[in-house]
């Protein structure tokens, strides 16, 4: 059996609600186990070394989007990050920027996402029709449904926002997650909003025209969403609104 390696994890610990607390890196060393993810490593640290360590997780499978954090500079999901991907087994963890810091690695992405959802009115709008939930939904072309589902795979982990220089510089920027959401509803035939309606939501420098095409969203999205392509699509659509 191959010799187990030591893993060194350095975590930025800080509790903004505690006046005595100051940001500091705390280092933990533990033994690597086969297939060890960062999520497993963090749980081991919390169970065996530091019960005070705060971080978020729910599903452990890259579905809930709760465990986003910055690992050696790159925002990523802890549950999908293998310790073995780091040859020197040294990992520096900091909380995702752009979001309200709760404590240590725990940030309030929910608050940010909720605000974004309300801002882009992230629901199907059809003022003409009363929806009867007792009836079967209208049929949709499979290709359209697939295209919508492709964008609906977003788990709101916040990694696109934490990767985005524009969002960090300008906290009101709607982010790739918001623009992806607008593209999703713009493609949905059940949504009767016009391009001008969507323009009213994101047609400014805090929205689509604030995006500087840094494309860190595209390059770091753990779900590989086609963000570059969809943001460009929305830009072309909205710039032509008269």
């Amino acid at each position: 059996m191959a010799q187990q390696k030591d893993v060194t994890i350095s975590v930025l610990k800080f509790n903004p609600r505690d006046k005595e607390s100051h940001p500091k890196f705390v280092e933990y060393t533990l033994q690597e186990t086969p297939g060890m993810t960062l999520f497993i490593a963090l749980n081991k640290i919390r169970q065996e070394m530091d019960p005070d360590l705060a971080f978020d997780f729910v599903c452990r499978a890259g579905i809930c989007g709760s465990c986003g954090m910055v690992v050696n500079g790159k925002p990523t999901l802890a549950c999908r990050t293998l310790v073995a991907n780091y040859p020197d087994r040294k990992l520096q963890l900091i909380p995702m920027p752009a979001f309200e810091l709760i404590k240590d690695l725990s940030v309030n992405t929910g608050k940010w996402m909720d605000s974004m959802s309300n801002r882009v009115e992230s629901w199907i709008v059809d003022n003409e029709k009363e929806i009867d939930i007792t009836k079967i939904e209208e049929k949709m072309e499979p290709k359209v449904a697939e295209d919508i589902f492709e964008l609906d795979r977003c788990v709101e982990c916040g990694i696109c926002v934490a990767s985005c220089g524009t969002a960090l510089m300008r906290p009101n920027f709607v982010g790739a997650v918001g623009l992806n959401r607008v593209a999703r509803f713009q493609m949905d035939p059940r949504d009767k909003r016009t391009d001008e309606d969507f323009y009213d939501l994101v047609g400014d420098d805090d929205g689509i025209f604030g995006c500087m095409s840094l494309l860190a969203c595209e390059d770091h999205c753990p779900k590989n969403l086609p963000l570059q392509n969809k943001i460009a699509y929305m830009r072309r659509k909205l710039v032509s609104v008269k």
Partner: protein, 254 residues
């Protein structure tokens, strides 16, 4: 009325969001794209000195319109320089909207770029920095071209580069222009998704490779051309102000 409501409320008097941000974004792209492509042409014209002094002279005279005006008129070049300067200023104004506006924004962007080590984010920082540099260097060059357009030619340009101490400015301007322009064209392509095709990700990789090829090509051409002007300028330093006479004319005189 509309300006007032848009200014205070961000919506037009009809209750719709202002369309100005869309126009500003579009104008930034159009002016940037035009200037980047213009610089390719400009570089090819400037590099005519690498062929021969006579060839550079004939290019200059052609641009002065000697095919319709006897002897050519530098006024045409001044007019063109004025148009380019105007587009340059509009583009700068549009581009400034994206720059960090205060120390806090600069601080967060710098920390982020250092931490993230992301290629396109770093390319943007280069673009922002070179854009800022060009605000000053580009303005100096364009103003001189606008007001002294008769001093373009194998000797006049070389004298300006060497004897009039423009070479340090031109070296920096060359670096700034070539990086800013090619990065800008790459960004324009991905920003508007013009060449996305069926696989935008592989297209982006190819676009970036092309971007670097173009950067190296135009930078090499620019450095070679500038070196040629410096060489001519050094050789011509004791006769500053003397205009170039093409070989065909000197042969006629002899």
């Amino acid at each position: 009325m509309s300006e007032l409501t848009e200014g205070y409320l961000g919506i037009t008097s009809s209750g719709r969001k202002s369309k100005v941000p869309a126009k500003l974004d579009y104008v930034q792209s159009i002016t940037g794209g035009f200037l980047a492509l213009f610089m390719w042409g400009h570089m090819l014209l400037v590099s005519s000195i690498l062929v021969s002094n006579d060839f550079m002279y004939s290019v200059t005279k052609t641009l002065e319109g000697n095919f319709i005006i006897n002897g050519g008129s530098p006024l045409l070049v001044s007019t063109f320089a004025f148009i380019i300067f105007s587009i340059f200023i509009v583009h700068a104004a549009m581009g400034l909207r994206k720059m960090p506006a205060n120390f806090k924004q600069y601080q967060v962007l710098r920390a982020h770029a250092k931490s993230l080590r992301h290629d396109d984010t770093n390319l943007w920082l280069i673009q922002a920095f070179t854009g800022f540099v060009m605000l000053f260097l580009g303005s100096v060059h364009l103003y001189i071209m606008m007001t002294n357009s008769s001093d373009i030619g194998p000797y006049s340009s070389a004298d300006r580069v060497w004897s009039e101490w423009m070479w340090p400015l031109y070296i920096l301007l060359l670096l700034a222009v070539e990086f800013h322009g090619t990065i800008g064209l790459y960004r324009l392509s991905v920003k508007w998704g013009w060449f996305d095709g069926k696989n935008p990700r592989s297209t982006r990789i190819r676009l970036k490779r092309l971007k670097w090829i173009l950067t190296v090509f135009f930078l090499s051409l620019g450095i070679a051309s500038l070196a040629a002007y410096i060489k001519i300028g050094i050789e011509h330093a004791d006769k500053v102000g003397e205009k170039y006479i093409p070989t065909s004319l000197t042969k006629g005189i002899l």
